[in-house]
Symmetry: C2
């Protein structure tokens, strides 16, 4: 196949546009960079729309086999020059492998206590690294997925993709308004555990967590609104012994998810 | 005071050099950006060497008072043009306030079970955001500080400074080789709790943690070496129920620090 050597090639321009949220949202695709991450996407059965690789950069046997296997399965794989590849990659010194992957299509109405017994919902998270890290923890504890309420960062931002360590390919991430979430919670009788610096209950004092469960993380600056607090079965507090008023969002989610894992009622 | 309007002014060049690790290490100073962070540094009693501010950007009452108070206490405060200020700031749309702050001077020999009952040690952490986030959690649980073993990122990297939410100004961060650490641990009879994906003990099965304690987080890729494992009283495992093989470093430290907080022996 002829190597793409122009940065203004129309495919390259479309792929590069995926560095912007707007293009990711309109195309429902996103960029996955690097040998490990592209391999994880393939392994997870993510829909790979196309692959770009720079033969002069991609020397790893595993990376080359990924391209070969994808080609066999009919995924278009385009070789590019190093210069063109660098114009696509968001990291310096890229490994020479990048995929355009389709976003998962789950809607909140696809989720129910049978296929989604235990989820995390975050109100408007502001840091893509935190969103990816929370997905990584969701995988670690065996939870079901992530719900993003009221906007916030794009979970398909390159930093979130990297931080998720592949979990983004395997778990549903749905984005809804709080009103839709509230209705869904009610319909399926989810037990919502909120968290707030001023929460009523020390998280260690909860005797047991009930299924189906949602851990609801409030807005990082303002915490849970009164309307959000109203749907919670409990509002948990992590003890804070120093001067900082809160934990990092992904750390707080991690501590609470492991606490829930430990104390779920049979 | 005359406003600095040249990006090549010698003070500005020296301050800008602090964006590089080398200059931070040779001068033992670092940059603190933004109204909130500079305020936290002042409040924590950090040694502020000098302050730069852009009168055309800095409109917050709190920010202006910070400059005024610092001036009264004899800290040199230099007004700059917006263009000069932007050449110093690492973030886009800076708030117009930035301080050059002295690094704390603690050495590991200054630390002992009386002033340092409970610390975290990380082997060569690679992400400055994680280092700052771990300091934030150290503050939250009431631990004593952070020990960086065998190199890794600079804890005074701007991303670490931001992520620590001010904890970097209040807790000792010491950098030593593993050999020095090992000797210090032995001398003071610290109980070292290591963590590894292949650790022998589920962290929940530890009946009690003893003081003085160090939580030792292994290298993110390779975990603890056998030499590092040898000094551990226990090697803890966080249960992993999914496909990812590990948690994010700061999340793992957070879960374990809260578990220790819960189970310290009297």
């Amino acid at each position: 196949m002829k190597i793409i050597s122009s940065r203004t090639n129309s495919r390259i321009k479309s792929a590069r546009a995926l560095r912007q949220r707007k293009a990711r949202e309109s195309s429902r695709t996103f960029l996955v960079e690097g040998i490990h991450n592209v391999g994880a996407a393939v392994e997870a059965g993510a829909v790979i729309q196309e692959i770009y690789y720079a033969p002069d950069l991609l020397k790893s046997q595993f990376g080359l086999e990924t391209v070969e296997d994808a080609t066999k399965r009919g995924v278009p794989c385009y070789p590019t020059t190093v210069e063109v590849f660098n114009s696509l990659a968001s990291k310096e010194n890229p490994q020479g492998l990048l995929a355009v992957v389709r976003q998962r299509e789950e809607k909140i109405d696809d989720l129910n206590p049978d296929n989604y017994p235990w989820g995390v919902a975050c109100v408007a998270p502001q840091d893509p690294g935190n969103v990816g890290t929370i997905l990584r923890t969701i995988d670690a504890v065996g939870a079901s997925g992530l719900i993003l309420l009221e906007g916030g960062v794009d979970p398909y931002h390159p930093t979130a993709v990297r931080a998720s360590m592949g979990a983004l390919f395997r778990y549903p991430v749905v984005r809804v308004s709080f009103d839709e979430f509230k209705q869904w919670v009610k319909e399926h009788n989810y037990q919502v555990y909120g968290t707030s610096a001023h929460g009523a209950v020390n998280y260690l004092e909860v005797e047991g967590y009930a299924h189906p469960a949602i851990l609801l993380m409030g807005d990082e600056r303002q915490g849970l609104t009164s309307e959000q607090s109203e749907i919670c079965k409990e509002i948990l507090r992590l003890p804070m012994h120093g001067q900082v008023s809160s934990l990092n969002l992904a750390v707080a989610a991690g501590v609470l998810l492991y606490a829930m894992l430990e104390r779920f009622e049979e």
